[in-house]
Amino acid sequence: MLMPKRTKWRKQMRGKIRGIATRGTEVAFGEYGLQALEPGWLPARVIEAGRVAATRNAPEGKLWIRVFPHKSVTKKPAETRMGTGKGDVDYWAAVIKPGVILYELDGVTEDVAKRAFNRVAHKLPMKCRLVRRRHL
């Protein structure tokens, strides 16, 4: 699973996801992309599940993962009383704003890309849509 090699601070504040994305919103590598339409956190294991689903449904294509889980999310153990500090890091997540391209696919037909990204989108915790590269 994806996670940072090292970080300056181990635990982070949760933060808020405001506004829409201004970066990473264009299909830049492949011909088709999966774009998030809602904000949310994308855990590393979900990113990996999406990668597996895409490669299984489009084995002849090339896949790019455009997001990276930079954010550490902590969790207190079950049946623990409150207090005694912040919990331990449970998982890593990517903070997603609406408009971000999550995955890109190339070397496949539109039907294949649509089917593969449909399978991926069902695993994600946000609404998504298929977008094509824009040629001006």
């Binding site: 300056k8 635990k11 994305a21 896949l63 990276f68 331990d88 609406p98 190339d106 070397g107 040629h135």
Partner: protein, 219 residues
């Protein structure tokens, strides 16, 4: 490439709030710059621009302020979620002088490398060429019928129409046949946009020294 005519109006509405009203009326803001003249703020019809984009028009004769100006569609900003054009840039051009412009590369045929377990990857969807504005090709077609596994096509292999010359490096790879994604992506490769801080402490997962005992938490 044909020169498309488009009507425009000189724009006095500047700033976010006024442009919001402009867009609500079906217009959109645009600017015209270049040729060492002052930048003109104009407004154009959003619907008309969408029609031109659909027909891949790039060279325009803009009619505004009682005159006309030849310009190339330099850039368009789209709304991230609705795909509606929000703003566009026009660069003034002289139809008699060659300009540098990006042209889409279209791949034709089926590469033999795909049958051997490869996948065709487009490294550069566009190439920069220099030509007269009226001679800009809609797209440059390249055949991939000779591409075997681990082979690539470079910009030097791109057949160019008469009057069009290549600007990018001749060794620039246009496309290549890579190995199957199922094999190549055994380890996930991610495009990381922002790397973590360089002078960082060990990762959270690695540092478990100060992990508290379960007895401390359960009272």
């Amino acid at each position: 490439m044909q020169v498309a005519r488009m009507k425009a109006e000189t724009r006095v509405a500047l700033g976010r709030n006024k442009l919001k009203g402009l867009r609500a009326q079906g217009w959109m803001p645009a600017v015209v710059y270049g040729e060492k003249k002052d930048t003109d703020s104009i407004s154009i019809s959003e619907w008309e621009l969408e029609q031109h984009i659909r027909h891949h028009h790039k060279i325009f004769q803009l009619e505004y302020a009682g005159g006309h100006q030849h310009a190339i569609l330099q850039d368009i900003q789209f709304d991230v979620l609705t795909d509606r054009p929000r703003h566009c840039d026009f660069r003034r051009i002289d139809l008699t002088k060659p300009i540098e412009v990006e042209v889409e590369v279209t791949l034709l045929g089926i590469a033999p490398g795909i049958a051997k377990g490869g996948t065709l990857v487009k490294d550069h969807a566009h190439v920069t060429v220099r030509c007269l504005p009226t001679e800009i090709p809609d797209a440059i077609e390249v055949s991939v019928a000779t591409l075997d596994l681990d082979m690539s096509l470079t910009a030097a292999d791109v057949p160019l129409p008469k009057g069009v010359e290549l600007v990018v490096d001749r060794d620039t790879v246009i496309c290549h046949v890579a190995k199957l994604v199922a094999q190549a992506a055994a380890a996930p490769a991610a495009v990381v946009e922002a790397a973590p801080a360089a002078d960082a402490a060990p990762a959270a997962g690695a540092a478990k020294k100060d992990e508290k005992k379960p007895d401390d938490k359960k009272k």
